[in-house]
Amino acid sequence: MQILEKILRLADHRLVRTGLVLASAVLMTAALYLSLVWAPEAVGETDVYRIIFFHVPTAIMSYLAFFIVFAASAAYLWKGELLFDRVARVGGELGVLFCSLMLLTGMIWGKQRWGAWWLWEPRLTTALILLVIYAGYLALRNVVDNQITRARYAAVFGIIGFIDVPIVHFAIKMWGNIMHPVVIKSASDTGMSPEMTVALRVGMLAFLALFATVFLLRFRLENLSARVSSLRASSGD
């Protein structure tokens, strides 16, 4: 709560906002260069493999966003502060965005690698269900008019949806055969050449910066518009 307000106050400084935008732009350019030009060719792969430098960060970012939805939803039900609801909303939007990007990059890669846009494979199917759950979350937010009702419904759905995710993942894993590669065993053993690891790390950083920037700007906007309407309400028209 207090942290959120502090963050908001920080974002009120134009310098902070510009700085963030600049930082993510620089990082993104670096990541593009490192992954598309600098990273070496992979053994037994065409250049399409370079999509991994976007595919993996977007996947991680969508997880992060969905976690934010969950945490903010729980916080909203607990405290009843609409501020948390706004966090959840922005999280949901970003999650759906990054999840779509992850699917899209994955599908493009898959078309080249497996010869099909899609396989009914656990990791892929889980991602698809995840997308549908959170697209449903946004749809739900969109059809409720009253803001408190909306906040409560969304919070309940956000919590249930998040609890469902690991179960979905587990269930689908049990149900189908695995085709999706697992390369990264751990932070130390990435299963890739050092250059690739660097490129991936920089890509991750760039997407994190992008995520933080978009999140902050979007969150600030939400709060400003909420403040405008509450000012309007107390002034009478």
Partner: protein, 227 residues
């Protein structure tokens, strides 16, 4: 607690009475269930050889559709003359309403199953109930999970504009794990696999039920407050 259960019973009795008055309710349900089976037959060209392989899928998809149909109804009766407002104004425990609607929906689905399953066995000549006790357990556990989440989402969507389509859109993705556990357990039981193949799934189903029943009870109040 006792009060909650008494109120839940009152709401449930009211619902059952109303449904019962919709004359021939059971008859319709029966025909509906039958039709779903027949439709699958034409769509997939099922024959005695491939029937066992299809059994579990056909059954669970029928349950899913029939159940969603029932869920849509369950809160809709409360919308007539805004009765839901009348309920919300009363001091009745919100949990009671959840429990009553949950029980009503569960009963509806159980009736469907009691009709569909024998009809399926007769029409396709596949005895899906060979392991009677276990199969019943799978159905029951599947139903409980389905109706727990279903009642919650139905309560949410009853006041929304795109109700009919939003209910399945919100509910079905949440139910995928349940469908996987249940359909594969039923399939193992039909295929006569050895217990290790289905016991694990039954345990998972039970876990799913417990988790979501508890969570639903905790959050239901927030939704009923907004009706």
């Amino acid at each position: 607690m006792k009060n909650t259960l008494l109120s839940a019973r009152a709401v449930l009795m009211k619902d059952l009475r109303t449904e019962w008055r919709t004359r021939e309710f059971l008859g319709h349900t029966f025909m509906f269930a039958l039709l779903v089976i027949v439709i699958f037959n034409f769509a997939f060209k099922i024959n005695p050889q491939n029937a066992p392989g299809f059994a579990s899928g056909i059954l669970w998809i029928s349950f899913l559709f029939a159940g969603t149909l029932g869920l849509g109804r369950s809160f809709l009766v409360e919308k007539e003359n805004d009765c839901i407002q009348g309920l919300a104004l009363s001091p009745v425990d919100r949990t009671a309403i959840f429990l009553a609607k949950f029980a009503g929906n569960l009963i509806f689905l159980l009736i469907i199953q009691v009709i569909v399953v024998p009809a399926f066995i007769v029409l396709y000549n596949v005895n899906v109930m060979e392991n009677f006790f276990m199969q019943c357990l799978v159905f029951l556990l599947g139903d409980v999970g389905f109706m727990t989440l279903g009642t919650l989402i139905a309560a949410m969507s009853v006041n929304l504009k795109a109700r009919e389509i939003l209910l399945p859109v919100l509910l079905l993705p949440l139910l995928t794990p349940l469908l996987i556990f249940a359909a594969s357990a039923t399939a193992s039981l039909v295929g006569g696999d050895d217990p290790s193949a289905y016991l694990g799934r039954i345990r998972l189903l039970a876990a799913f039920d417990v988790i979501f029943f508890v969570v639903s009870l905790l959050v239901f109040e927030y939704i009923m407050d907004e009706l």
